[in-house]
Amino acid sequence: MAMRGLSMQPNLLRENAALCLQAKQEFAANGLPAAKNEAWIYTRLQALTLNPANAGEEAQADEAGVLSFSAGWLQTGGDNLPASVTLTEMGDDAILGEFAAHLPEDHFLGSLSLGHATGAYLIEIAANAAIETPLQLVFEGGEEGQSSHPLIFIKCGAGASCQLAEIHSGTTSLSAPVMVIDAGAGAKIDHVKLQAEDSQASHLALTVFAVAQTADINSFTAAIGAKLGRHETHAHLNGEHIEMALSSLYLGRAEQHQDITTRMLHHMPNCTSNQVIRGVLDDSAKGVFQGKVLVARDAQKTDGQQMSRALLLSRKAEADAKPELEIYADDVVCSHGATVGELDETHLFYMMSRGISEDDAKNMLIQAFLIDALEQVRHEALADILSHAVHDWMAEGL
């Protein structure tokens, strides 16, 4: 049975919790990332809309497993969750402290949303539970001029398995979710995130994975919406024999700016990580991929792979990449690769010479390029969510 007790008139964390006040001060003191800040060299932040929304009306519970958020506040009580899933509000400094301890120190995105928090929720999955229905976190609603800063803490108990889908399609000017996914020993998590925010919005997300030994994580992000999108993921592999897949695709049109930043942090030996990144950029869109793989001194026998490819469809599109290896252990197999280019002319020619129109041929090639990435998603229902969105994006371009 899921625990209730969510007050629908929550106390405002950002005005009461010491941690939030501290983060707000930190944020005010540091301001936006400076032009010389290495982590932000390709993504310049101008002014941000900072006007955290307040909780709205309670709504009807959705279908099973769906949690609806409006402008960063949970709207439903969580009655529709499976029995082994518990939903509570993070209302005190103790649990908030545990959440914040997972965030990188002095991090812009961390202090931004801790300091301006909207709703903050803890979702716990009991040890050894096998959740069959995907949990869907749907973030929508809000108004222009508002910002949403949901803080989500997911604790997946040892040996549990679950599927998580995050869908961001809000209408606030800024959506800045911070999510911590704590995977217990042997946990198996399938996670997808679809970023399909309003075309004028900014989406600045920080996701942290804290992974214990023998856990198996398959995570995928598709960044499609927003005018300015940054999806930053830090994955801490804190135990041995972890399998971690952290892949993504980003699509950009018009003036869109999509930034995918990952830090794969191998702290312990015998772990495997794999990242496949694909980007397609049209019009004047700009795509950024920054991916660091760190292998600590003790993380012998690490296998860390990363491959990013960007496809430019227009003369004005731009792709920037900064894959990074930082390696302190000697018995490792690590590699990264990055390519940027346009559609292969010989491929196009081959298809057109067989009677396929140029547009169709291009579309097929783009699709094939993206399917390469989408195939990384292991769970079928989750994959469907993303492939529909990608399909719609393709269709819009015709």
Binding site: A321, K322, L325, Y328, D330, V340, E342
Partner: protein, 483 residues
């Protein structure tokens, strides 16, 4: 001893015992320690420089005062006291010697210890050597033969007088004074360096070479090298470095500018083996170098090849600005770090011209407690139709206390550009060791074979004269350490 330990031991020798640690006692003429306008005036006056040169220096100094030392590299550098450095030291000599006979015999003895047979080189190697001893070029050979083909090869301090129009036109045109902290410093206080001018259509009849030495205690070395290759000309320039052992850190901030016009080709090769400091990183050279070439003309080509084994800190990114249509930039690098050495090195390839191409091959070998970083930028600008880049960065880790890092930056603003980057990190595997041992090679030979094989793609780009020295260097780093 297991293979791994032996490998570690082998490479610990790499730079641990510095063969060239000795000091030559030559009376030197020094400016007082520290840096201010007066010192710059002193340096300029010492060199009888024209007014425009002094003004240029003073402007650079004013600029430098407003700048900050860069901190983005993965280097841990103790704060440098720029007022505790001698900015000028010249071997005492009333007038420049005209032949080797006039050169201070002690200097010649130093070169002999280094294994640079100046005299023999004249006959054997066909290499003209413009030897920079500390700050003043004291021996210049083969000038006459070069002059016959119209090639100018002289100390830059001399070129300021003999070819002011060329120096004025090109100095600072590739590396602007305010490009970075160290280029501004160099522009203010540079003491000497080489000047090379290859006229139209001339293929330089010999490999040009200089040996830079840092000799006088506490003197920073601030070379300034300028190479201009006019249309359809070719030059290969070799730079080799060794330095005496020191306790205090020595600062080195060189600027090298290359200009290649239409169809011209410049090949610039470096072997850098300065004192790396002791096992804890005490002493050793701080090497902050700005090297950049401009491929100004269509079909021009600039190739940088470097073998970096020395220095406590290396901060060096030889770059190419590919302006000309179908211009070509190449960068081949082997960087070996050991002990507490730190290297942050790589290249920048800026594609501006249509059809420009670049190749980057970087091999990093880290041992001991060292950190070895490749940092490179490939940028394709909007007008660079059909630009191509291929980058390969491989790192080899020897031992479990070192670090190997790869930080490529890729910026593509033209869809027709194709950029490919690959990086791998590995170590000498037990399998490789076993395979070679089984065939009768001892462990030392095996490590040497594997490391040389790992670097082969770069080594084969070196001119023959250098390839021998470079292989020897890597050989030295491996010898006597196994068993």
């Amino acid at each position: 001893m297991g293979a791994t330990e032996e490998t570690i031991a082998a490479v610990e020798e790499a730079t641990g015992q510095y063969k060239y640690g000795f000091v030559t006692d030559v009376e030197t003429e020094k400016a007082p320690k520290g840096l201010n306008e007066d010192i710059i005036r002193f340096i300029s006056a010492k060199k009888n420089e024209p007014e425009w040169m002094l003004e240029w220096r003073l402007k650079a100094y004013a600029k430098w005062l407003t700048m900050e030392s860069p901190d983005w590299a993965k280097l841990d550098i103790p704060e440098i006291d720029y007022q505790d450095i001698y900015y000028y030291a010249a071997p005492k000599s009333a007038e420049g010697p005209k032949s080797l006979d006039e050169v201070d015999p002690e200097l010649l003895a130093t070169y002999e210890k280094l294994g640079i047979p100046l005299n023999e080189q004249k006959m054997l190697a066909g290499v003209a050597v413009d030897a920079v001893f500390d700050s003043v070029s004291v021996a210049t050979t083969f000038r006459e033969e070069l002059a016959k083909s119209g090639v100018i090869f002289c100390p830059i301090s001399e070129a300021v007088h003999s070819h002011p129009e060329l120096v004025k036109k090109y100095i600072g045109s590739v590396v602007p004074v305010a490009d970075n902290y160290f280029s501004a410093l160099n522009s203010a206080v540079f003491t000497d360096g080489s000047f090379v001018y290859i006229p139209k259509g001339v293929r330089c009849p010999m490999e040009l070479s200089t040996y830079f030495r840092i000799n006088e205690k506490n003197t920073g070395q601030f070379e300034r090298t300028l190479i201009i290759a006019e249309d359809a000309s070719y030059v290969s320039y070799l730079e080799g470095c060794t330095a005496p052992q020191r306790d205090e850190n020595q600062l080195h901030a060189a600027v090298v500018e290359l200009v290649a016009m239409e169809d011209a080709e410049i090949k610039y090769s470096t072997v850098q083996n300065w004192y790396p400091g002791d096992a804890d990183g005490k002493g050793g050279i701080y090497n902050f170098v700005t090297k950049r070439g401009a491929c100004r003309g269509d079909r021009s080509k600039i190739a940088w090849t470097q073998v970096e084994t020395g220095s406590a800190v290396t901060w060096k990114y030889p770059s190419c600005i590919l302006q000309g249509k179908d211009s070509v930039g190449e960068f081949y690098s082997v960087a070996v770090t050991n002990g507490a050495q730190q290297a942050d090195t790589g290249t920048k390839m800026i594609h501006l011209g249509e059809g420009s191409r670049s190749t980057i091959i970087s091999k990093g070998i880290s041992a001991g407690k060292s950190n070895n970083t490749y940092r490179g930028l490939v940028q394709v600008m909007p007008k660079a139709e059909n630009a191509r880049n291929f980058t390969q960065c491989d790192s080899l880790l020897v031992g479990d206390k070192c670090g190997a890092h790869t930080v490529p930056y890729i910026v593509s603003r033209n869809p027709s550009g194709k950029i490919e980057h690959e990086a791998t990190t590995s170590r000498i595997s037990e399998d490789q060791m076993f395979y070679c041992r089984q065939r009768g090679l001892d462990e030392e030979e095996t490590v040497s074979l594997i490391v040389n094989g790992f670097c082969r793609e770069v080594m084969k780009e070196l001119p023959m004269e250098f390839a021998v020295e470079a292989q020897k260097l890597i050989g030295i780093s491996l010898e006597g350490s196994v068993g």
